[in-house]
Symmetry: C3
Subunit: 350 residues, 3 copies
């Protein structure tokens, strides 16, 4: 996929400004230390600014006004983001509009958008609607009445169950399940009667779901993941959850039913969140934490159960010293008893 482009062409692609020789030919991307004269590199962290002087790269992405040591540069506000965009340009395969390939199983009542690709072994149910330029890989199963937006990628063996809706530019990694039944039961003596889970899941635009993650359909209404939120692998989102925009839900996190999560929240790996809670905007929860109560916005939390992250850091430092602390208390107890006896004796003597 890689091909030669001039620095000027790349600057135009990024909306950046060329400093130096815009005619420099770029054929690949590389790191500051290892990039050669045909490669473009980037400076994101000002700590490494002096490395620009030594790089052999043909050009450098950097923030406006930085010292370029005579190198050809493309100035952009966010060099790391710009580099990611060039990785896409240079190295990712553009969408192949293959249509419905032989071996794909597509219901007659399904609507397949222009330029979509449906791979062999994909199964598309009745009345499914698939947007333009979307790819559905082998073994992916879309149940009846599913709606998938444009420019999505539904990877192999992912499943979207009946009536669930996926926005535009969503990516569903292999094996992920959207719309499995919520875990809801009515006690019936010692047994449990399964409460029909008649709601759906809605994934808004630009949502990504990691491999083998699960998002349960709502009991009655909608489990919703809002625009731009990314789920890592093996994440569990229970029924009726509302996850805000631009959240990062790291691997193996589990969120129990009916919990509402604000915008721009980060839950680190293996966090568990209880049901019916509210997590405010911009909250950050540390790995393996157990969220047992609602969390106010704009703060970091850790621990199981959670406490403010800074408190947890201090508590965690005491943890390995608990046996020592316990011994200290026993020793103090003994010294105090001795003191008390000594004082009593003093009094008796005096």
């Amino acid at each position: 996929m890689s091909q030669t482009r001039t620095v000027t062409e790349l600057a135009e692609h990024l909306g950046g400004t060329v400093q130096g020789n815009g005619a420099t030919m770029i054929t690949e991307l590389g790191a500051l230390e290892t990039a050669g004269p045909d490669a473009l590199t980037f400076l994101a962290n000002p700590r490494y600014a002096s490395k620009v002087a030594e790089t052999s790269a043909g050009a450098v992405l950097m923030a406006p006004g930085g010292e370029r040591y005579g190198r050809t540069a493309i100035e952009v506000a966010n060099p790391y983001l710009a580099f990611a965009k060039l990785l896409t340009l240079f190295y990712t395969k553009p969408h192949e509009p293959l249509g419905i390939l032989p071996g794909a199983i597509v219901s007659n009542s399904a609507t397949i958008g222009e330029g979509a690709s449906i791979y062999p072994g994909a199964c598309i149910g009745r009345n499914v609607v698939i947007g333009a330029r979307t790819t559905v890989y082998s073994g992916a199963v879309l149940y009846d009445n599913v709606v998938i937006g444009a420019e999505c990628t539904i990877h192999a063996n992912a499943v979207v169950r009946e009536r669930c809706q996926v926005g535009n530019r969503c990516i569903i990694q292999p094996g992920a399940v959207i719309g499995s039944d919520g875990f809801g039961y009515a006690p019936d003596g010692n047994s449990y009667y399964p409460i029909p889970q008649i709601g759906i899941v809605v994934l808004e635009d630009d949502v990504e779901i990691g491999a083998n993650s699960c998002v349960d359909r709502a009991a009655i209404e909608t489990t919703r993941i809002r625009r731009g939120t990314k789920l890592d692998n093996l994440v569990q989102i229970a029924h009726n959850c509302q996850i805000g925009e631009d959240c990062m839900i790291v691997s193996q996190v589990g969120i129990s039913g009916s919990t509402k999560i604000g915008n721009h929240v980060t839950l680190a790996g293996q966090v568990g969140v209880a049901g019916h809670l509210t997590i405010g905007d911009n909250v950050l929860v540390g790995g393996q934490s157990g969220v047992a109560g609602s969390l106010p916005a704009n703060a970091a939390y850790s621990g199981s159960p959670t406490m403010p992250h800074k408190e947890w850091l201090k508590s965690a430092m005491v943890m390995p010293r608990l046996p020592e602390l316990k011994k200290s208390v026993s020793a103090l107890e003994k010294r105090i008893t001795e003191l008390e006896m000594a004082l009593k004796q003093n009094r008796q003597e005096s």
Copy 2:
């Protein structure tokens, strides 16, 4: 699926008693606050009893003898359960007996029960037996010699490996794996030799397995999940486990090999259970707990390692105050040293 029914018809369906106008026509179900005159609602929690006076619902499910404020009511012993049953009646699609659909891959030696539905892309191995009115969705794979009971639902891309047995009315959510090889190895110098896992998995009647959950086959005999037990998503059951009846195993729980779990046990989300343990009947284990030893019946536990739940609640409250506690002990130490010196001085003076 929804259609009109009279209150009397619904009462008969539930085995309940009509109070008021049995001829009232019901077309949908709703909440006490929002249900209209064509809707039936329910009162399960006595705390909301006064809302019955204000509801616009055409009829109310309630416990016998409750104040119905002149509303039409259906009296049933368990209104929540009855409401769940009506959700099933009104809103769930009845089983479609579709037979073997084109695109399904079914071995000639398989036996498919009457009224079963095998979707395109499902793969049914040699000598598999599938009971009456069971549905196998696209991409589900049943290895050779699998037995599935009647009225089961095997969702898309679920896998049941060779010789495993599934009872009647079981539901296996998408992507779940039944009968994967247990994690057993014999050390061979620094390396590991895989011990053949030649046993099977048996799921008894009315068992449900959540999306992408895994139940490993036994090393030699049977990993068994007894009647009525429900597994949520992403649960791990290791080889040789015996899980009792009517248990609730919440998402992301992991149970290690050869552990025996009693009846009516609830393990909350992300609990881990070590191997070769015994958990008694009616035990409840709190979220994220780590069960490192066997647990006696009829009690609640939490923590990692577990302790009685009430003790854990108290310990968890001390956790954030550990740094403060440590400072207190240091301060006491200093005060005691001063006291000791003062007393010594006193003695020398006296």
Copy 3:
């Protein structure tokens, strides 16, 4: 699969030495307590040596020089390992070289090794190479340019994404995903821009991947799992990780990006490991631990965050006693205050 073999034949298979009657016919394997005269059993734990006197088994696997109480024995250095090898011999189905079965979807450009078996519904992409005697079960999907070695088993609905490489004798359990995109994003205002994950995954020889486990492809280079390492079910390996040889990664473990794990490391169930760490050779980490910093080799750790395992054992014992400890400190505080007052009074009096 079972058939009759003489003790001498079995000894030759194992490279062991016959003591007693090598002509004894063996048809099955069993436990010391229950094996009959046609069965072979084993003695691995010297604690049970006296049971050899009472067994009805036709022959016993045991370490050289053990007391055989007149029984026919096969002496081998590692009886447990030898027994596992006989389980394989007696009870595991040998590979069936079925070729490409009808209903398998195999690209014309794929290369399928001699004696391989590709089941109906398996999907093999462009330029895929599959080694000799490898089995690919129904619903497994190999994306374009995947390379699979010889004598591998790729179970149903497993997915290997584009360009990833699998060594010889690897086993991938159902639903596992190899090569999903790493979880990498460049902040773009409040939103996140997905960084193309253009690297691959390499599984070396004799690696096993549990059901529904996920191994993410590297951002640029290679996520690597070295020879002989075994992953249990529902494990997450993030992008750029390097996992050493002969490791045991138990169920539901999650390892964050770019972490390096040495050889012969055991991570027990539900352990979480942060990113960019180094774990030394022969490390053992206890269940549910949270590894927040690098861990030196040849030691055992537990806790979240981790500490040396022995320290953790002591700390964990104090945990349930924290409320009591806190009360003790308060009581000491009171007693000291009283002592201080008493001493002050003494001084005033004297």
